[in-house]
C-alpha cells in the first residue's frame, strides 16, 4: 500500500515540477468544461423555471379549435365552462405576439383580468395597471431597456382599431428577477389587450382551475360536449384542452431536444480538445523525457513511471474540473452569465438585464470530473507512454 501511496505522491509533486505544462493543461480543461457546465446549468435553470411556471399555472388550458388549428374562444365560453361541475375558476386570457421598435423587437402582450395578474409580478419601477384606467401597460425590464422605454412613456397605437386608435402608457417596469419567460412580456388588462388587437369579445385561451379529482372529467366534458357557436353560418368552435400534466410531459422533450443539440456540439468540442491537450502535454517534452530517462536509469519500471504520470494527469484533471466548476458558478452567480448567457438563451443580451436562471446539480458536476479525467488522460497518455517505453539512455539524450 505504501508503495502506491509513495508513487502517487510523486505524481502529485510532478504537477509542480512542470508548472507550465500543468498550467496549460489545466487551462485547456477549464476552457472546454466551463462553457459546458454553464450551458448545462442554464438549461437546468430554465427547465426548473418552466416547471415552476407550469406548477403554479392553471389546471387546464382551454383554447378554441377549428380544423385542428388553434383559434380564439368567444367570451361567452367563460360562463359556459364555469358551469361545468368541478370548475372553481375560469380566467380569460389574451396572448399575442407583436413586433416593436425600429429594431423589430419581438414582444408578447398578455392581457388578463387585473385581479388575476400573477402574484409574483412586482414592479421595480412604477405600478401595475389600475382597474379604473385603460391602456396601461407594464413592461419587462429587458424589453424596456431594448426599446428605451421608461415609466410614463406613451406608445403609439399598435393597430388601427374599429373604435378609434388608442395610445398606451407604460405605467410600470417589472422585476428583473421575474422568470425568464416574463422578460419580454407586456402585461395589461384583458380589456386593453382586446382593444389593442381590436378583438373584443374573444380570448385566446381560458385558464381553468378545478377541484381536486375533477380535472379529467372536466377535460373530457370540454372536449366532447362543449362547442361555441361562431357568427351565424360559420359553424362552431370546439375546444382544445391541455392539462398541466401534459405540459409537464411535453417540457422535458423540448429541453432534451435542445440539450441533445448542445451535447452534440460539446462532443465535437471535446473531440477537438483531446488533440489540443495532446499538443500542450508535449510542452517541455524533452525535459520530461529526460526526467523519465533518469527514473528508468535509476530503477523505476515502465508501469511505475506510467502510474506516476497517471496520478499527475488525475491531479491535473481534478484541478481543471474544480476550477471549471467554480468558474462556471462564479460566472453565473456573480457575473449573471455575462456574454455566455446570450449564447445559450435566445434573446438575452451580452449583459443580461434579467437575472438568468441556472442550477448546478450534482450530475453535471460529476460529469465534469469524468470528462476532465478522460480528456487529460487521453491527451497525455501517448506522450507519457512514448517517454516511458524508450530506453533510458535514449530518453536522457
Amino acid at each position: 500500500m505504501r508503495y502506491f501511496i509513495e508513487l502517487g505522491r510523486t505524481g502529485l509533486t510532478a504537477v509542480l515540477l512542470h508548472p507550465l505544462r500543468s498550467a496549460v493543461t489545466t487551462a485547456c480543461v477549464v476552457v472546454l468544461l466551463s462553457p459546458f457546465l454553464v450551458g448545462l446549468a442554464l438549461s437546468q435553470g430554465v427547465e426548473e423555471e418552466a416547471k415552476d411556471s407550469i406548477k403554479f399555472g392553471a389546471d387546464l388550458y382551454v383554447s378554441g379549435d377549428q380544423f385542428g388549428r388553434r383559434v380564439p374562444l368567444p367570451l361567452e365560453a367563460v360562463h359556459q365552462v364555469s358551469e361545468i361541475e368541478g370548475v372553481t375558476q375560469v380566467t380569460p386570457r389574451i396572448i399575442a405576439g407583436i413586433v416593436l421598435g425600429a429594431d423589430n423587437v419581438d414582444a408578447v402582450v398578455v392581457g388578463l383580468p387585473l385581479e388575476h395578474f400573477p402574484s409574483k409580478l412586482t414592479c421595480v419601477e412604477g405600478r401595475l395597471p389600475q382597474p379604473s384606467k385603460r391602456n396601461e401597460l407594464v413592461v419587462g425590464t429587458e424589453l424596456a431597456r431594448r426599446l428605451e422605454l421608461h415609466v410614463g412613456d406613451l406608445l403609439p397605437p399598435f393597430y388601427h382599431g374599429s373604435q378609434g386608435d388608442r395610445i398606451s402608457e407604460v405605467v410600470g417596469l417589472f422585476d428583473s428577477d421575474a422568470p425568464l419567460w416574463q422578460a419580454r412580456l407586456i402585461f395589461t388588462s384583458f380589456d386593453t389587450a382586446a382593444e389593442i388587437f381590436n378583438q373584443q369579445g374573444l380570448a385566446t385561451d381560458l385558464l381553468v382551475e378545478c377541484r381536486s379529482g375533477y380535472q379529467e372529467s372536466i377535460a373530457s366534458t370540454l372536449q366532447r360536449n362543449v362547442a361555441f357557436p361562431r357568427r351565424p353560418g360559420e359553424g362552431v368552435i370546439r375546444t382544445r384542452v391541455t392539462s398541466r400534466e401534459e405540459l409537464q410531459a411535453i417540457l422535458p422533450g423540448g429541453i432534451a431536444h435542445r440539450g441533445g443539440i448542445f451535447n452534440l456540439h460539446f462532443v465535437l468540442a471535446f473531440a477537438v480538445g483531446i488533440p489540443v491537450i495532446l499538443v500542450t502535454s508535449g510542452l517541455g517534452l524533452s525535459e520530461r523525457r529526460r526526467e523519465v530517462g533518469i527514473l528508468k536509469a535509476t530503477g523505476w519500471q515502465t508501469d511505475e513511471v506510467l502510474l506516476r504520470n497517471a496520478v499527475e494527469s488525475l491531479a491535473l484533471s481534478l484541478a481543471g474540473a474544480c476550477i471549471a466548476i467554480l468558474l462556471a458558478f462564479a460566472w453565473l452567480q456573480w457575473l449573471n452569465g455575462y456574454w455566455i448567457a446570450s449564447i445559450f438563451l435566445n434573446g438575452i443580451d451580452v449583459v443580461p438585464a434579467i437575472r438568468v436562471p441556472f442550477r448546478m446539480s450534482p450530475i453535471p458536476v460529476l460529469l465534469a470530473f469524468l470528462l476532465s479525467f478522460v480528456l487529460v488522460m487521453t491527451g497525455t497518455l501517448y506522450s507519457s507512454w512514448r517517454a516511458s517505453t524508450v530506453s533510458p539512455i535514449e530518453a536522457m539524450r
Binding site: R2, Y3, E6, L7, R9, T10, T13, L16, L17, H18, R290, E291, G293, I294, L295, K296, A297, T298, G299, W300, Q301, T302, D303, E304, S391, P392, I393, E394, M396
Partner: protein
C-alpha cells in the same frame, strides 16, 4: 581480459546506431570481457571511442545490437523490462551531466530511485542524510540542484548512486565537468566506495583515475584495444 568470478561478462558485444542506414554508427564492436565483483575498472579512450555506450550496455540502459551482456549469470537481452529495472536497482549510476531533476530538493533527488521500493518519506530522509553525509553535503538537504555548483551537483548524483546500496557503481566521465579539486574529491569517494567492496566501473580519460583502477580497458573506435 579474463578475470575470475565474473560479475559482468560480455560476448562479442556490439551496438550500432541507425542500423541499416547510410549513417549507421558502430559505437561498440565485438567486445568480449569479464569483470569480477569488487574490482575497479577504468575504461579509457578518446572521445567517440565508445566508452559511454559500453557503460550503458553494461548498465542495462541500452540493448545491444549484437552479442550478449551477462550480469550475475543472467543474459540482460533475455530479461523483461521489469527484470531489467530490478537489475538497474542493483547498480548506481553517476552521469557526466549529473542528471538531477531540477525541481526536486537534494534529498528527494538522492532518494527518488528508492520510491518504487515502497520506503516512507521519513526513511528516505534518513537515507538521504546518510548518503549526503558521505559526500559532505548534509547541509544542502533541502537545496535545489540549480543552487549548487557543478561539483556539488556531481556529489549529489554520487550520493544518489550510493543511496540504493548498489553492488556496482557505473560512472560516466564524472569529473569532466568539474574543477580539478572537485574531480579529485570525487575520485576519492569512488575509491572509498570501492574499498567498501562496491564494484566500480568508470569511463574516463582523466589520468587522476588511473591510480585507483584495478583493471584498465582501452577502447579505440568501439573496439577493445589489446
Amino acid at each position: 581480459m579474463i578475470l575470475s568470478m565474473p560479475l559482468f561478462e560480455t560476448h562479442h558485444l556490439g551496438k550500432d546506431f541507425r542500423p541499416g542506414t547510410d549513417s549507421m554508427v558502430r559505437a561498440v564492436h565485438d567486445i568480449s570481457l569479464q569483470i569480477e565483483a569488487g574490482s575497479f575498472v577504468l575504461i579509457r579512450g578518446s572521445s567517440g571511442s565508445g566508452k559511454t555506450t559500453l557503460l550503458a550496455l553494461l548498465g542495462a540502459l541500452e540493448r545491444p545490437t549484437q552479442g550478449q551482456v551477462i550480469f550475475d549469470g543472467r543474459d540482460l537481452a533475455q530479461l523483461s523490462g521489469v527484470a531489467l529495472a530490478r537489475v538497474r536497482r542493483r547498480l548506481g549510476f553517476v552521469f557526466q551531466n549529473f542528471s538531477l531533476i531540477p525541481g526536486l530538493p537534494v534529498w528527494e533527488n538522492v532518494t527518488y530511485p528508492l520510491i518504487p521500493r515502497g520506503l516512507s518519506a521519513r526513511r528516505r530522509i534518513e537515507i538521504a542524510r546518510r548518503s549526503l553525509d558521505q559526500v559532505s553535503l548534509l547541509d544542502r538537504l533541502m537545496t535545489r540542484p540549480s543552487e549548487l555548483s557543478g561539483g556539488e551537483q556531481q556529489r549529489v548524483a554520487f550520493a544518489r548512486a550510493l543511496a540504493g546500496e548498489p553492488d556496482v557503481i557505473l560512472a560516466d566521465e564524472p569529473t569532466s565537468n568539474l574543477d580539478p579539486d572537485s574531480g579529485r574529491n570525487l575520485m576519492q569517494q569512488l575509491h572509498q566506495s570501492h574499498a567498501k567492496g562496491i564494484t566500480v566501473i568508470l569511463a574516463s580519460h582523466d589520468p587522476e583515475a588511473v591510480p585507483f583502477a584495478t583493471h584498465i580497458l582501452e577502447l579505440e573506435a568501439g573496439r577493445l584495444k589489446i
